[in-house]
Structures are given as C-alpha cells and as structure tokens.
C-alpha cells in the first residue's frame, strides 16, 4: 500500500496523476551526478524536464557499483575522479530546485555513502535539497527498516526494486516498504546489458498491478525510443539509464536523445 506522504514530498504522486490524466506513461531518465564534470552534469540535469523527462533519477556515484554494467561503472569512476561527493550531489539537486519546483527527483545509488553520511542526516539533507525519494540498490526489504523511520520523518519515499526473481511469496515484503512508485527490474542482470522481452514485461506488470496501487516503472535494458514506447504501453513509466549515460559521456546530444525517447513514450498509446 502507498505510504502517506507530506505535502513537500507529493511531487511523485502529482506527476503520476498528471500522466494518468494525459493518458500516457512517463519517461524516467537516469544520469550520474558529476559526470563528466560538475558543470556539464548540471547543464544536462537542468535541461532534462524541457527535453521531456517526467521524472529524474540522479545517480550518486559509488566506488563499487555491484548491480551496474560497464557504462554506469565508468560514469561513477569519472564522477569520483573529478571529485564528486554525496554533498556535491545534494548541492547539484538544490541548484536544480531553484529553477524547477515540480519535476520529481529520486536519488539512486548504493548504501555505503548514505551509511557513512549517517542515515538520519542523509534523510534531512536530501529532503532539504529537494529530493523526493531514493532508490538504494543494495538495500532489500530485509535491511530496509534501517531507513524507513528517517525517510518517513522527512517525507522521502523509499523506492523499492522488484525483479523477475521476486516471487509471489516475497513480493508483500517488498511492497511493505515501497513508496512513490515501484521499480521493476525487467531482466536478471546488470544495467545496460540486455533488453527485456515486451510480452514478459507486460505479464510481470500485470502481476504487480494485482498486488499494489503504486505506479510501476520498468527499467534495465531500455535503450531506444521504440523500446521505451513498447514499455510505455505496459507500464506507468519507462526508465532509461545506460543509453543516456553513454551519450552524456560522448557529448552526443544527450538532451536530443531524451526528446526522442519522450516522443516515443508519448506516442506509445493510441
């Protein structure tokens, strides 16, 4: 069941409500904070809403990203090498919020930098910077109780992952902690490697919908506007990460790519 949220943290609900009204799915884009450098990353971040991103996942770089493929590993290393820190990532978000009060931003990363910062302090600082929630890849429901209290106190959503390996017996434990939206990892594998089968994704989403009212976003392996459109027919949102991170790394018109993805998602349903 969706958690109660405070007015400050209602951007995710407001965005999905608007999408439902428009009769379309959303585009969620992932980028790594501080990659390839602070200024370039800030410019991409600030350009994402106008390019068509409905929700933004802002990656917090970590030295040991165990669930990520080579593209996002390399992005994290570039960001760390040029001095990106958790505080720097939150500062980036705070600057973004000076210009955009509506687009939901979800921080995505691994637990140790948050643990090191202090869970309470992280929740307070992330909320103050304008975050709506966080996806912590290596925090399954078994360990999630460490965060639920501080997150709830600051109106942050803990966005939980489900995977093809998450069976019916296990799903309630995941949903018990889930807020904001549910992130379905469409493949068994790491980010940016292989692509999901559209039919299997549709079946999985239907299975999840029977158990939750939360909006369902699908990610991992979505690389093209056509693939994003296919996912958008089945789910409430399609997440694109590695393919965008590659274009940011090479400077190959990342915002133009986001616009093409957005066009795909917006035209997906008749």
């Amino acid at each position: 069941m969706p958690k109660e949220t405070t007015p400050e943290s209602g951007r995710i609900q407001a965005r999905f409500a608007a999408l439902r009204e428009q009769g379309r799915a959303g585009l969620v884009t992932y980028m790594m904070a501080g990659d390839p450098d602070t200024a370039a990353a800030q410019a991409v971040l600030e350009g994402l809403p106008a390019a068509g991103a409905d929700i933004i996942e802002l990656g917090m770089p970590f030295s040991d990203p165990m669930a990520d493929g080579p593209t996002i590993q390399a992005a994290a290393q570039r960001a760390l090498k040029q001095g990106q820190t958790l505080k720097g990532t939150l500062a980036m978000l705070a600057r973004f919020r000076e210009k955009d009060a509506d687009t939901p931003v979800v921080l995505m990363g691994y637990y140790n930098p948050i643990h090191s910062h202090g869970v309470e302090q992280f929740a307070a600082d992330a909320a103050a910077a304008g975050a709506d929630g966080a996806i912590i890849v290596d925090l399954p429901p078994e360990e999630a109780p460490e965060l639920t209290g501080p997150f709830a106190a600051h109106g942050l959503h803990l966005i939980m992952l489900t995977a093809p390996t998450t069976d019916e017996k296990r799903l309630p434990a995941v949903l018990d902690h889930a807020g904001g939206f549910l992130y379905y990892v469409s493949i068994t594998g790491i980010t940016g490697t292989r692509s999901a089968d559209e039919t299997q994704v549709a079946e999985a989403v239907a299975r999840l919908r029977a158990k939750t009212d939360l909006p369902i976003a699908v990610g991992f392996g979505i690389r093209t506007p056509d693939q994003a459109a296919a996912i958008a027919r089945a789910a409430d949102a399609a997440v694109v990460g590695s393919a965008l991170v590659e274009r940011i790394a090479t400077g190959d018109d990342p915002l133009g790519f986001v616009a093409a993805l957005a066009e795909g998602v917006r035209g997906a349903r008749p």
């Binding site: 970590f62 030295s63 040991d64 990203p65 165990m66 669930a67 493929g69 080579p70 590993q73 290393q77 760390l80 820190t85 958790l86 505080k87 691994y110 637990y111 140790n112 930098p113 948050i114 643990h115 090191s116 910062h117 890849v137 290596d138 925090l139 399954p140 078994e142 360990e143 939980m160 992952l161 489900t162 995977a163 093809p164 390996t165 998450t166 069976d167 296990r170 995941v174 990892v185 068994t188 594998g189 790491i190 490697t193």
Partner: protein, 408 residues
C-alpha cells in the same frame, strides 16, 4: 571487554546479523538466490549423510586431519611460549581454503547447480575452487583482478590447467574487491544454474556463518590434538586475518573458553599511519560492502579505499562481520603487522623450521615472534600456518631487493 556473554558461538541471528555487523545488503534480484542458499545449507547441515560425505572427502582427498606441530626451534629461539603450528599448509592445494570449497561444492551439487563462480585475489581460493570443480566435473569461472593476474601468474596457469576459465577484471582498482563485484554481477545474470562459492567469512548471510562452519574443522582438530600433546587447552591462539576465514576456523571452537587468549593479525602494509594498509579493524570504520556491514576502509564520503598489503590474500578493504563483532565485544584482540615484519618472519620460520609459510601466515608468525618472548615457558600458543609459501617466493625476493634468479 564490554560485557561477558553466556556464549560467543551463538551468532548470527536469523537475519544474519552479528550485533550491528553482517546482514544481507544485496540487490533484490539476488535476494531469492541467497535465501535459497540459506535453506539448502540449513537442510544439509541437519543431514548426517552430508556431513559424512564431507568428512570422507576431507580425510581422503584433502588429507585431514592436518598435523599440529610443536615448533621446537622457534620456541628455543624466542625463549618464551611453547609454539605450535596448525599445519593447514599441508592440505591439498596448500592452504585452508579447500576446507570451505569442499563443503560448498557438495552443497552446490545438492542444490543441482552446474556452474560455479568465485573471486580470487592471490589465486589460492581460485585454485581451491578450480580443484573441487575439476573433481566433480563442474563448469568453473574465476574472477580475478587484472593487477592480481599479473602478480600471481603461476596460480592463473594452475587454474587454467584445472579447467577453469579465468576472467580478468579491469573495473575499479582491478584487485580482489573488484573481482568480487564482477562475480556478483555474473551471479545476478545467471540466476538459474550458478552457485557463487565465496572464499571467506564475508558476503551476505549465510556465507559468513556457513564458511565459518566449514572452517571450524581447524579449531576442532586443534582442540583434540593439543589435549593429546599437552594434556590441556592452549593459552593463546594467533592467526592472520584478511576476510578472516582461517582465523575464524581456528578461533570459533575456543571462543567460550575464557582462559584462551585469542589474537587476530591484520595486514598493516607500509604501516597503518601511512594509509597504505589492509587493517580494516585498526584503520577502518563500519560500512556496507559486498552484502554485509563490516569494518571497512573508506573515505569520509563513504567510497571504498583500495587496500595495500604485500600479501595478496590479505589485500581486502573489509573483514568478516563476525570478527567485527568479536572485536567490539572485546573477546578477540586484533593487532596490525607490517609488510616488513611479515617478510622478516617469513625468513625466520623458513630457516629455523624448514617451513616456508604463505605471506599471509607469516603475519601470524610475526605476531607470535613479538608475543612469545614476553610469555612464560609453560605458555602454550597455537599459530595457524594457514598456507604454504611457494607462491610467494618471487614476492619475497623482490621485497629483499632482487629477483628470484639472483636472490641467492
């Protein structure tokens, strides 16, 4: 000592926690697999046929029990405690690693898994894993950092001879921690047929407890052997700690003996004060990596720092969660030994006893060399000779300023 517990051997709890340490910090995709390992291990542990099969292989294939050897010349040389070596270096494949590999490979077979993956640093765990895979005809993929592949070439060739595929890891610092990252990435992509054979008492629950259980044969044998040879329990135990599996295997059966002093030896590299070390408990703070909370070498920002040790097997930025808990409860002392001290001890024990120790084990010997002269002559100390040092002779030659060919 914070408080005296009724037992130090009860952990982990049902969620895999040792106090604040341990746990299961992995991606959701892996959680169901880890729960499957936990169930399968609980079944196996309760099945006498499984233990009987394991005991058979340990006896006839690994060569157990390993001897407990009274190191007469070291004892005379140091002029204090009576020093015994638990000879894990005499196991098949030359180290304690095979104890846990044998247990886990039997478990993997029981689970119907056909493909085995593992990480390795120095290559000892990789060789032990490749060995048991060859024995049972299972596909074997070993992840090894590119940097380690270059400095441990003989072990790489050994693994290939045994039929394993050795996958070079170039991400991050291209060492053991990155090899573990890539092994986890492999597992997440091969969820149906693959078993991840972790080499130490770290990783997500149940691995720290399971690997400990398989390594406890070291301490259980030691207990029986010292009772036979000395007629009483030892006064102290000393073992080196990377992830901590050889030490946990020796220590655990003695944790509830309050009169047995227990000392774990961390790799201090160039010295803890230099920042170039692998002493997670002396120089790190609690953090989360590779599925568990443990003492971890990390920056103020929570980024994992590369470890440094002359011993590739101790070159890891974390340490098993049960050790972290034993440190915080005060039951076990953890002390640092530098590269230089280990190399000195390596030479001393080689000359005096005719035993070439692994550089890892030389750290434990170095601590024994420090402690023994301060102790009375009736003090009985057991040092875990966790592995043999043939693999390390080139490294030691280099540390002494020459290459192997001209060192003599």
């Amino acid at each position: 000592m914070t408080k005296a517990l009724n037992t130090y051997r009860a952990g982990a709890d049902e969620r895999g926690h040792f106090g604040i340490f341990g746990g299961r910090y992995v991606a959701e995709t892996l959680m169901p697999l880890i729960l499957e390992v936990e169930r399968a291990y609980a079944d196996a542990k309760a099945d006498p046929a499984f233990q009987a099969e394991l005991d058979g292989y340990l006896k006839h294939y690994v060569g157990r029990p390993s001897p407990l050897y009274f190191a007469q010349h070291m004892t005379e040389h140091l002029g204090g405690a009576r020093i015994y070596f638990k000879r894990e270096d005499l196991n098949h494949t030359g180290a304690h690693k095979v104890n846990s590999c044998m247990g886990q490979i039997l478990l993997a077979r029981r689970m119907g898994k056909t493909r085995i993956i593992a990480e390795t640093g120095a290559g000892q765990h990789g060789v032990a894993t490749a060995t048991v895979c060859a024995l049972f005809g299972l596909t074997c993929v070993i992840y090894m950092g590119q940097v380690d592949i270059e400095r441990q070439a003989p072990n790489v060739f050994r693994m290939k001879l045994l039929g394993a595929e050795v996958k070079p890891v170039t991400s991050g610092s291209a060492t053991l921690k990155d090899a573990m990252n890539d092994a986890m990435r492999d597992w997440v992509a091969n969820v149906d047929d693959t078993y991840y054979l972790i080499g130490t008492v770290a990783g997500p629950h149940p691995y720290p407890s399971m690997v400990r259980d398989f390594q406890c044969v070291i301490g259980e044998e030691t207990r029986a052997q010292i009772l036979e040879q000395e007629g009483r329990l030892p006064d102290s135990l000393v073992a080196c700690i990377g992830g901590g599996s050889n030490a946990m295997g020796l220590f655990h059966p003695f944790l509830d003996e309050p009169d047995v002093r227990i000392v774990g030896v961390e790799a201090a590299g160039d010295g803890v004060e230099t920042g170039r070390h692998a002493a997670s408990m002396t120089g790190g703070r609690p953090g989360v990596l590779h599925g568990n909370r443990m003492y971890l070498l990390q920056t103020d920002d929570g980024q994992v720092v590369e470890a440094h040790s002359i011993s590739a097997g101790l070159d890891y930025p974390g340490v098993g969660p049960e050790h972290c808990w034993l440190k915080d409860t005060g039951r076990v002392e953890y002390v640092p030994i530098t590269d230089a001290e280990a190399v000195e001890a390596f030479q001393t024990v080689t000359r005096l006893e005719g035993i070439i120790p692994a550089l890892e084990s030389a750290h434990a010997v170095a601590q024994a060399i420090k402690l023994a002269p301060t102790l009375p002559r009736d003090h009985v100390m057991v040092v875990n000779m966790s592995g043999r040092g043939d693999k390390d002779v080139a490294t030691v030659a280099k540390a002494l300023g020459s290459d192997v060919g001209e060192a003599l």
